[in-house]
Amino acid sequence: MTGLAATSGNDLTTADGVPLKVSLSRAQRRNKIKAVLLVAPLFLFLLVAFILPIFDMLLRSIDSAEVVTHMPNTVRAISTWNGEGVPEEAVFAAAAQDLAAGSRARTIGKVASRLNYEIGGMRSLIMKTARKAKKLESGPYKAALIGMDKRWAKTDVWQLIKRESGSYTLSYYLAAVDHKYAADGSIEAKPENLQIYVNLFFRTMWMSGLITLLALLLGYPVAFLLATLPMRQSNLLMILVLLPFWTSLLVRTTTWIAILQSQGVLNDLAVWAGLITDENRLQLIYNKTGTVIAMTHILLPFMVLPLYSVMKTIPPTYMRAARSLGATGFTAFRRVYFPQTLSGIGAGSILVFILSIGYYITPALVGGQSGRFITNFVAYHMQQSLNWGLAAAIGSLLLATVIVFYLLYNRLVGVDNMKLG
């Protein structure tokens, strides 16, 4: 910004001789400080509650410090092993030393948990040996360890330890896409009866797509009514649309259970009306149907509101103009009204879609076995299996998916055109 001074030859000054820029920046400093102070609390909040957790998640998805931290001697000793047969005595000695120390410090359990994710049974192998290793006073350690548990003579146990001896690992991401390291270190697909996440990713995507589509089909006419009805009726309708917002998620979801379950209201009505027999009650819940119905209901307001706010800005004269120009009601809608609502459709759809792939409570409660989302496994690995690395890897993939969809949307529609209200 010194270009002005350079080209004009001499600096502009105020009446009392202070350079204009200095004077201006002095005048603006107060405003700048004020602006920074106003934004600071939110920025700090976002940093602590949003950005740091995401960063933490990304870190956890590749973090594999357990082995190198708690078995440092073994990691050092095994680095020279060629990966064939069984390592030499020095590695066993280091392992015995690490296991005994880890058992005393009660840190070896972390190594056991970490390695057990890769090969079932590693937990008991590590823990049992660690407990016994405390009493081991002298070598030869190789014979001693194999004597405690003959699994120590297996090549793949040592290959696993060597592979996971770095600070970072890709094995969580491999697991998240149903792959794993083979014994020789190459990457291979898991056996078919252990494959789960890739299918779930796609199921989550297409079910979210279906939910978005249904929300659009149901929400569009409602938003249209809301935007065109006189104020009094539209206010009432708006309350009905917003009602789900004011009810707790759990209450809403359990209400759907009461309505949809096989002894529920809907089935009772259908039986009473003679549409189905008592023995052939429809299974509307604890499957995909249940998830789609309940989530469409829950996410409907997120579709209606952006649509409404866009439709509200379209004056009725456009439709009238189109009709006066000779278009039928349908043509006028298709060529004049609908194109103007595209930005609302885009905003509502991406909102519902992104929210939908992130939902987990509703699918967990009404989805049964077939209506669950990938997020349910994030929750599962967070809370039950405690495999936080895998949870973080799946979460990171989800985050990447959302970003991809967002960029795609930006490319197709343009974020500037997104109208949320």
Partner: protein, 360 residues
């Protein structure tokens, strides 16, 4: 928006939400429902009466290990005592998330002076764990769903032709795989040997396949009695105490199939650094009288030998509690002791396979 981020954030900041523990207040994490109610009646209320300390119940035992890990990692442990299964307690102990318990020093001896290490059921004590109860995973049914012959064995549960209707099972491999094998004719003492082999696991899943389409999976302990009461299902697996509670306190027409029950113990762990704070309470809550008292409220067997003789009748209805206990002779004939070591080793891979199987 992204729930997983929230979960992570919550785990990291779990402390902030439950920072209710004051000097004279203990935060006790347990399983909720009828079980927490029995603990409140048998341990908490007498303790409050005796010392004036208040006790805050948190129903987070389902995610107890996860919560402990988050709190210890964040360096802000707010739980004072956690109810836990021994397999999880072992992991928590191995990872240094809980304090070591010196049973004979920290706990009360029996009234006639038997040291705790001798008085608790053999093999139930471990380095960081004090047992409270013996409970059982059983399958119960709603008697009104069967007009003719009533089911009585695990084979009947897998017999869709003879006993039609939906089944509700817990959404995890534990118990289900054992039951599948036992229903398929595997003797009780061979179940875990079988499950250690690929063929055994295949066999268990193949057996489960025969009823898979008729299973509604539950996740919270309160769900099975509800599903049975609503007649959404004919059979439901569950904890025997919860079913007992529905039978006795809610007068539900439920019946327990004791055949092939999988029993295990349940008890306390002390989160890292909390031993000095909870030692007095822990000693009180696990003494002979308190464990016997708990059996007045729920049909779980006391984990102390000296308590067994004191088990009497139900606190409100006055019925004899003994026939409702998992360890009662006729109930115990075909019982299987859950193998914690097996599950500590194989839970990860079998859960993965179970989930993949579910999703197919």
């Amino acid at each position: 928006m992204n729930k997983h981020i929230k979960v992570l954030g919550m785990a990291a900041f779990a402390g902030a939400f439950s920072a209710t523990a004051m000097a004279d207040s203990l935060t006790v994490v347990s399983w909720g429902g009828a079980y927490t109610a029995s603990q409140k009646s048998a341990y908490h209320d007498p303790w409050t009466k005796k010392t004036g300390d208040t006790i805050v119940n948190v129903d987070k035992a389902q995610a107890g290990l996860a919560g402990l890990r988050a709190q210890v990692e964040a360096g802000n442990v707010t739980w004072d005592l956690v109810d836990m299964l021994p397999s999880e307690a072992q992991i928590a102990c191995d990872e240094g998330l809980v304090d070591i318990i010196n049973h004979d020093q920290d706990l009360a001896a029996s009234p006639d002076g038997v040291a705790p290490s001798k008085d608790f059921i053999a093999g139930s004590l471990s380095e960081c764990f004090v047992p409270q109860i013996v409970y059982s995973n059983i399958i119960a049914f709603n008697t009104t769903m069967f007009s003719g012959k009533q089911p009585s064995t695990m084979k009947d549960v897998f017999d869709l032709k003879g006993f039609p209707g939906k089944r509700s099972l817990q959404k995890k491999p534990i118990n289900n795989l054992e039951w599948a094998l036992m229903a398929d004719g595997v003797p009780t003492d061979k179940v875990y040997d079988m499950l250690r082999t690929e063929e055994g696991v295949n066999r268990a899943f193949a057996k489960l396949d025969t009823i898979k389409d008729n299973v509604i999976w539950w996740e919270e302990g309160a769900q099975p009695p509800q599903l049975l009461a609503d007649k959404e299902v004919a059979f439901a697996s569950g904890y025997n105490g919860r079913i007992f509670n529905a039978q006795v306190n809610e007068k539900q027409p439920f019946q327990i199939i004791w055949d092939a029950q999988v029993f295990e113990i349940d008890g306390w762990v002390v989160p890292k650094g909390k031993m000095s704070k909870v030692k007095a309470y822990l000693s009180f809550a696990t003494d002979t009288q308190r464990l016997a008292d708990q059996a007045k409220y729920i049909s779980y067997g006391p984990a102390r030998v000296s308590s067994a003789a004191l088990v009497s009748t139900h606190a409100t209805t006055g019925i004899d509690m003994k026939p409702h206990m998992p360890t009662y002779g006729p109930n115990f004939k075909t019982a299987l002791h859950k193998n914690d070591e097996f599950w500590a080793d194989h839970l990860d891979e079998l859960t993965e396979r179970f989930n993949a199987w579910l999703a197919r």
